[in-house]
């Protein structure tokens, strides 16, 4: 049994900032710039900043696509930016489930057709990527980028 008072190991996680933005591509730049300025202030390197910006753009565009498929008017972006890492969560409320691994492969095998570019990119740009599917309710992608090299995780 894990010591239950060791709350550093599993801790509550609430994003520092959660915003809901309209399902419109014009919003992508605004959110990206807002997070970009935080990264700038914390001294993230240009390369890491660029990766985060690209990842966020991809995730938001995917969320806008999927959310708008079900006529949802907003998407949600949660963010925590600190001196250790930048954690982003983009949620659409379309609730469409999919197999991210398949779409990733889709992008790898050229002749299979279009699609999967977003997931393919996210995986390469970010250090950690998780998808949370609540069927018929919401789909979230959580992306983590460390300021420095990420900690080693077995199986990585």
């Amino acid at each position: 049994m894990i010591p239950l008072n060791d709350s550093t190991r599993i801790r509550r996680y609430a994003f520092d900032e959660v915003v809901r933005v309209p399902c419109a591509l014009s919003e992508v730049g605004k959110v990206r710039d807002r997070i970009g300025s935080k990264l700038e202030a914390l001294g993230y390197t240009p390369r890491v900043k660029m990766n985060i910006a690209l990842g966020l753009e991809e995730a938001m565009m995917n969320a806008i696509d999927h959310g708008s498929l079900r006529g949802q008017p907003v998407i949600e972006v949660g963010s925590t930016v600190n001196n250790q890492c930048c954690i982003l969560q983009v949620t659409d409320f379309g609730g469409i489930t999919f197999n991210p691994e398949y779409f990733e492969k889709l992008a790898e095998v050229k002749e299979w057709g279009k699609g999967g570019r977003g997931i393919f990119l996210l995986k390469r740009l970010m250090d950690e990527v998780y998808y949370f599917f609540h069927p018929e309710k919401s789909t979230s992608v959580v992306m983590i980028k460390y300021k420095e090299a990420p900690p080693a995780v077995p199986g990585a």
């Binding site: 049994m1 894990i2 239950l4 709350s7 550093t8 190991r9 599993i10 801790r11 509550r12 996680y13 609430a14 890492c85 954690i87 969560q89 489930t97 197999n99 991210p100 691994e101 398949y102 990733e104 492969k105 889709l106 790898e108 095998v109 002749e111 299979w112 057709g113 997931i119 995986k123 970010m126 250090d127 950690e128 990527v129 998780y130 998808y131 949370f132 599917f133 609540h134 069927p135 309710k137 979230s140 959580v142 983590i144 990420p150 900690p151 080693a152 995780v153 077995p154 199986g155 990585a156």
Partner: protein, 501 residues
């Protein structure tokens, strides 16, 4: 305690010595933490209170009465004596809650007033047994045996014994419940830890209250902290539902798919207080689904490509070829769907493999002659009719697949050889493909479609040949075996063994 307090309605009163013993006993009970210690204390006090030779205590367990303590080092002290409720004096007392006595070797039932059984059959000269009650519920009995210096236990003895029983029964019951709870709790914790599913209890702020070893394994394989679990819990709690399920793909770096169910437990005020989440690693199950998805994806893309090529093709011969391949591709898709639905279903009937072979061969004969491929099947046909219980349509497909394989891979002057070796209840078919570089076309791992898809994904190969892989499934469904052997660069043999029954 005053003397008045212990005076009873029948006029019996406790002696000062008995009161001292009772007070001492209760003081000791207050500091005793273990049930066994309380039993020892009670039987010793009961013996001393009544000047008995010895005493014992028994507790009800379901429909039985188990002796759990004794002043003697006997079976009763070890908890090995169990009697049904209603059997013997303690059993009767435990059943109806009425105290009973043996006086001067005689037992008179307080219920029937019948004097029984005969004196010589009684084990004890004198006995007094009183019930242990919590409120009105009987939980056991306390009994003393053989009054020292007197033929029977008097009213004072009985009164003192009943007072001891009345005032200690609550403690006994509480300690017994506590002991059972500890056992139950330990058992539940054992189950909790042994579960392969992760179980986690978190409060509504996401703080962990409890989680088991499987959670540790799922999220901290090497004891390292990561954000996966924190965001995971956060997502579950954020859903704000009383119960539900979700699926998580920890794409990077864990490469793991988790499925969870969660239930929100209300607090005393009815507001959500805790969330219990069960988490299952479904990566392996999903891997099978993924494999099928990949096959579907591969085959559908190839199918679409074929149709595009056929559509553009002007040469009617080439067009027919492409359309034939399209038909094969469709057949594969159907086979795949069939396999995905579960084990292949067979419609077995009596049929002759020789006849099926001959029919298929007749269809291919013209094409083989044009291509100059030589078929040598005397080793098969010389055995006459090879009959058994098979699914004739699938066996026909097996022969077709093998002929098509030969047609596709062999060239002018090359040989396609059939041999059969029948044995008791079994037939072994040897299909030889002799042609230049045949081992490159018919690979030993052709039966393993996973290997083929892996090669395509890794870019090692661009073609997918599922014919033999599907053939393998058909043979296995007939409880047969199939192997591909590379005899040399130019010789490959496919061995199919089938039971005839």
């Amino acid at each position: 305690m005053t003397q008045d307090a212990v005076d009873r309605k029948n006029g019996a009163a406790l002696t000062p010595a008995q009161v001292d013993i009772l007070i001492y006993t209760w003081r000791q009970i207050c500091v005793e933490e273990h049930l066994e210690g309380v039993f020892a204390l009670l039987v010793d006090s009961a013996r001393r209170l009544t000047d008995a030779e010895h005493a014992s205590i028994a507790l009800i367990e379901g429909s039985k009465l188990r002796f759990v303590g004794s002043t003697r080092e006997d079976q009763a002290a070890r908890g090995n004596v169990v009697v049904p409720l209603g059997a013997g004096i303690p059993g009767k007392v435990a059943q109806d809650g009425i105290g009973r006595r043996i006086e001067c070797g005689d037992y008179v039932s307080p219920v029937t007033r019948i004097n029984a059984p005969p004196t010589h059959a009684l084990e004890h000269r004198s006995l007094a047994c009183v019930p242990l009650k919590v409120r009105d519920e009987i939980i056991g009995t306390l009994q003393v045996y053989n009054r020292v210096g007197a033929p029977k236990f008097d009213e004072n003895d009985l009164e003192a014994l009943q007072v001891l029983a009345d005032h200690s029964s609550v403690t006994v019951e509480r300690l017994r419940l506590q002991k059972n709870l500890l056992i139950e709790s330990s058992r539940v914790r054992g189950i909790f830890q042994a579960l392969t599913d992760g179980i986690m209890v978190v409060d509504m702020s996401g703080n962990p209250v409890l989680y088991n070893q499987a959670v540790e394994g799922l999220f901290f394989p090497d004891g390292k902290q990561n954000f996966a679990l924190a965001t995971y819990v956060s997502n579950v709690i954020r859903s704000g539902e009383t119960s539900g399920s979700s699926e998580v793909v920890l794409l990077k770096p864990h490469e793991m798919i988790l499925s969870n169910r969660f239930v929100t437990i209300p607090g005393t005020a009815g507001n959500p207080a805790e969330v219990i989440v069960s988490i299952r690693n479904i990566s392996d199950q999903r891997a099978i689904d993924r494999r099928f998805s990949q096959f579907y994806a591969l085959m559908l893309h190839k199918h679409a490509k074929l149709i595009r090529r056929a559509w553009k093709q002007k040469d009617p011969v080439q067009k027919r070829k492409l359309l034939r391949r399209q038909k094969e591709s469709m057949r594969h898709l159907i086979s795949l769907t069939e396999l995905k639905s579960g084990p292949l279903r067979l419609e077995r009937g009596n049929c002759s493999l020789t006849d099926l072979y001959s029919k298929v061969k007749a269809n291919f004969e013209g094409g083989f002659q044009r291509l100059g491929i030589r078929v040598e099947d005397s080793g098969l046909l010389s055995h006459g009719q090879i009959a058994g219980r098979f699914d004739s349509s699938r066996m026909t497909l097996m022969f077709k697949t093998l002929f098509m394989q030969a047609k596709r891979t062999l060239k002018n002057g090359e040989k396609f050889i059939w041999n059969a070796v029948p044995s008791a209840g079994r037939i072994e078919l040897f299909v030889g493909l002799h042609g230049a570089g045949i081992s490159e076309h018919v690979r030993e791992d052709a039966l393993d479609w996973n290997a083929q898809v892996d090669r395509i994904i890794s870019g090692e190969s661009t073609s997918l040949d599922l014919d033999l892989a599907f053939l393998g499934h058909m043979v296995h469904a007939h409880k047969g075996t199939i192997t591909i052997c590379r005899d040399s660069d130019d010789e490959t043999s496919i061995k199919v063994a089938l039971p005839l029954g």
